[in-house]
Each structure stands twice: as C-alpha cells, then as structure tokens.
Symmetry: C2
Subunit: 331 residues, 2 copies
Amino acid sequence: MDHAVTKPHEQLAMHLAPRMAEVNTLIRDRMASRHAPRIPEVTAHLVEAGGKRLRPMLTLAAADLCGYAGPFDVHLAATVEFIHTATLLHDDVVDESAQRRGRPSANLLWDNKSSVLVGDYLFSRSFQLMVETGSLRVLDILANASATIAEGEVLQLSASRDLRTDEATYLQVIRGKTAALFSAATEVGGVLAGAPEAQVDALRTYGDALGIAFQMADDLLDYQGDSTATGKNVGDDFRERKLTLPAIKAVARADGDERAFWSRVIEKGDQREDDLAQARALLEKHAALEHARADALAWAGTARAALAQLPAHPVRGMLEELADYVVARIS
Amino acid sequence: MDHAVTKPHEQLAMHLAPRMAEVNTLIRDRMASRHAPRIPEVTAHLVEAGGKRLRPMLTLAAADLCGYAGPFDVHLAATVEFIHTATLLHDDVVDESAQRRGRPSANLLWDNKSSVLVGDYLFSRSFQLMVETGSLRVLDILANASATIAEGEVLQLSASRDLRTDEATYLQVIRGKTAALFSAATEVGGVLAGAPEAQVDALRTYGDALGIAFQMADDLLDYQGDSTATGKNVGDDFRERKLTLPAIKAVARADGDERAFWSRVIEKGDQREDDLAQARALLEKHAALEHARADALAWAGTARAALAQLPAHPVRGMLEELADYVVARIS
C-alpha cells in the first residue's frame, strides 16, 4: 500500500476497520425503534450515506493512540456520529421566510417536523450511549460540547447577516458548527483511555484546531473552489448571505462604497447577477482569501503541534497527516 | 387558609415556594448565553409565562417527601422544566404541508429555525444541569425518558392519522408526550434522596400514571369541554386530525358507514361543517367519552395507590389530591 497516494482518513479507516465495523453495527442497532419503526427509514439515508465517518474515527483513533482496548470507544464513536447526524437533520429545518423566498421543497429531504423529531430521537439515543460508559467526565465533556454546538447555531442565526460580525464571533460560530464536536470526539477518547491530563489536553486542542482548520478551508472553498472538489457550488454561502471568514476580512478593509455593496448583498439580501463576481473581486483586492488561507494553515499547524504530547504510534502519524490534509484542499 | 378551595398544585406551590424560587433563579441564570444573547429573549416568553410549573414541582415534592434536603433537587427541577420547554419549542415547528393548509404564520411564536435551535440549546443546558448532580442513575433515567419522549413524538406523526391506531399505541404516544417526563421528574427526586427501591418504584409509577391520567383528561376535554376551562377550543384535535382516545374507542366500535366517516375526516382530512357534531354523536352512541373517562380515573387511582408506599408527610397528601385533581376536570 502506498501511503503517499492514500488519503489520511482512508489510512485511518483501514487501520480502524474492525472497530468501525462494530461502530456501524451499534449505530444500526440503536437507530432502530420498537415503537416508531419509521425512524430508521429517515436516518438510514443519512447515516448509511457513506460519509467519511470522520468524527467516530477521531474517537476510535484517540482511544487507540492512548492505549485503550475497548469496549466503550465504540459507544462514544456511535455517540458522536448520532450527534452529528442529529445536527444535520436540525440544520435541514427551514423557516417560513426561506420557503417564501422560493426554496423548492423538493430540496428538502424530509419535512420539517420529521427532521426535528428524528433529530431529537438521535440525540436521546446518543445520550443513552454515553451514559452506558459510566463516565461522568465523558458526560460532562459531551454536555459542554452540546451547549457550544447549540449556542453556535443560534449565534449564526443573528451574526451571519450582520456586517458587524467580527473574526472572534466567526470563530465562536465555527466552533459550534464543527470544532466542538471534533474536539469532544478526540478528548473523550483520551479520557476513556485514562490518559494523563497533558495528553487529554493535547487531544482536545488537536480536535478543536482540526475542526477550525477544516471549517475555515470549507468556507474558503466556497469562494475559490470548483464544485467537483467540494460537492457544493461556489458562492452558496454568498447567495445564502452567510458572512464567513473571507467576506469578514474584506468587510473589515472595505471603503464606503464597498461597505455599501456588502450591506446590500448580505444584510439586505438584494443580490444581482454580477454580485458574486464583484464580491470575489473585493476579496482579491484585500487579499482576503490569502489571509483566510494563512489562518487555516496556522490552525492546522496548531493541531499538528498538539500531537507532540502524544505517544509515538502509527495513529499519531495518521492524525498529523490528517491535519495537513484538511488544508491541502486550499493550498 | 382553606385547603378545600385551594387547588393541589397551588398547595404544592406554597409548600415548595422557597425551593421554587431557587429553581426560578437557576432557570434564569442558565437560560442566559454569553455567546448568543438572543436566546433568553426567545425562551423567556415560554419559561416566564407563568405556567403551573407542575414538572419541577413534582421533582421538588418527590425529593422532599423522601427526606432530601438539597441542593440538587433544584438542578433537576430546572432540568425537567428546560426539557419541557424545549419540547414545546420543537412542537411549535410546523412542516410545509401545515403551512400550505393555511396555518397563519402569525400563529407561530417564532420561526421554525429559532424554535429548533433554541430548543436544542435548552436540551443541552438541561444536560449540563443533570451532569452536575454527579448521579449516573439520574442520567440514565433522564436519558431513557428523552428517548421515550422522542419516540412518542415520532410515533404520533405516523399513528395519529391512521385508523389502525389502537389504545396500546395511544398509550405509547401519551407516555412520550406527557407521562415519561412526569415519571422521570418524580423518580429522580427519590433517587436523589437515596430512597429505598420500593419508594423509587412508587414515585416512578405515580408520575407515569399521573401523566397518563392528565393527558387522557386533556384529550377528553377536547371533545367535551368548554374553551374557558381548557384554554383550547373544543374540537382542536379533531380538526388537526389527531386520533386520541375517545375517537379510537369510537372507531373500534364503528360499523361500515361510521368507519367511512372516520376515514374521510381523519385519514383523508376532508372535513365539512357538521363533521365535529357528527363525531361527537358517534362518541355518544358508543359511550366513548364515558369509557375514556373511566380509563383516566383508573390511572388516577393507580397514581394515588402508588403513594401508599411513601412516607406519611404533608406532601404525600398534596400529591394524592393532585391525582384526583387532574381528573376532577372531567368528572
């Protein structure tokens, strides 16, 4: 096997394959509901869709790296995947105004009500799984992560269309959106293994920084990428009036006319045909993409550096490469 | 003070007033979000609205009855109120079809997205509060209650408009909707107090049966009550095509024509001007309200009987009266 052409998450997947098979079995088992047999119909699509399963792999990897031999790494890996799936379902809920603006309902995977309630079901299942570990510290970490996720989502509602949103607020939003669960996923692996505090801290820092780098790269690709690489269309965030890091940097450097432009397209939502091109020109003018790229690379560096606290182990190398990989898409 | 004219929940409120004041302070404190200051705006309306606060009182009462002197009864009382409020917010989410049928958006307290995300925030806050008690058994009880609540809600989506829904399914739905949280609220009070198992069992049974009786009475009033007593319009469930106990009993006894009627109004949703009157006539014909009332009274009796296991204490008398009170509305 040539590691040079195997992506880091694929290396992790191969290394962790036997445990991931157990995670998948547990997920299927716990999705099922005796009383509401429709639930797996709704969730199977999301859970089975063959995503990278990055979050559960992070938990298994962290536990493995710290010498844990099971069984509860499997429970916590399923826990984080359930939480992730539940947040996807809840993100899928649209409000009336979005529908009025003509979002075709065929875009929706399920109706709002099912998305909310099945998401709640998955949250409750994840809660049962984590209680089974019997670790109050694990529960504390996941409770705090849940609060950060929910706060970040609410914050995004108010902040994303507000030009006063600064980089600190953006960081809080993406911690909620991505980094809090990455960070909890790695930290609980170390806690389960009874790793020394310095290692647990390092795992938390790794997950946090990896998640931030990952989300920054994603937000950057929304302005610079091509759709084949990202699976989403360039300009989606712009069209949805979501103020992400590149635009925040350009707004901070904007003159009066530019500010009026951003206010019109983001705050007022009055977008015209050439506005995306104009937005990209302004990012270019202020080197906003380069600065955002530098930030993402710095966070990937923080993630990589944190791993120095952890034992020498094949998994450590894979996690290092993973940190590079999440920003390789933008380099 | 004349207890004969004081309602049982008011007696409980008076007895528990100092602890409830602490619960209210804790609720206000934990609603606040440093990162998303809009959250209390959204929740204050619901939490401060001056509901009866029945669920947190049940937790305080159960703990008090079993000799617990604090402090975590306050945390768990706030926990159950947060869970209750979160489920109300998530219930408020409507799907596209409901809006297409012309539900005026002025009826909605908040948009769908805020309801979902702020509900998630309250769930995560409740999760943090319960972790603070340090009791894995409490966490286990509340995790299982969460799963029952979520399953019941999903089950209701598929069952409520399906004439094949029987009384066992109805019971499962109302356990999710009401009884699971009542039952967890009382049980965790006993667990916190370190009460003997027989008492903990009795508290769980009391909460479960009380919740079932309460919800059955509510569903019955939807067909027989007047709006002043219930605060909701007679026939709401019928118009929303929600198959509740009275209608389930009438459907079970329906002849061919009657079945066609129920199929048209509930399954197909084709309702005409005199259909509610016709439905009430069919309930009358099959004595469905009397049977439903007898069921509710039997559950209230189960609740009352369970209390025999518990210590003699002024609170025990109040809880007994509460069991009678929830069905007094329909007697």
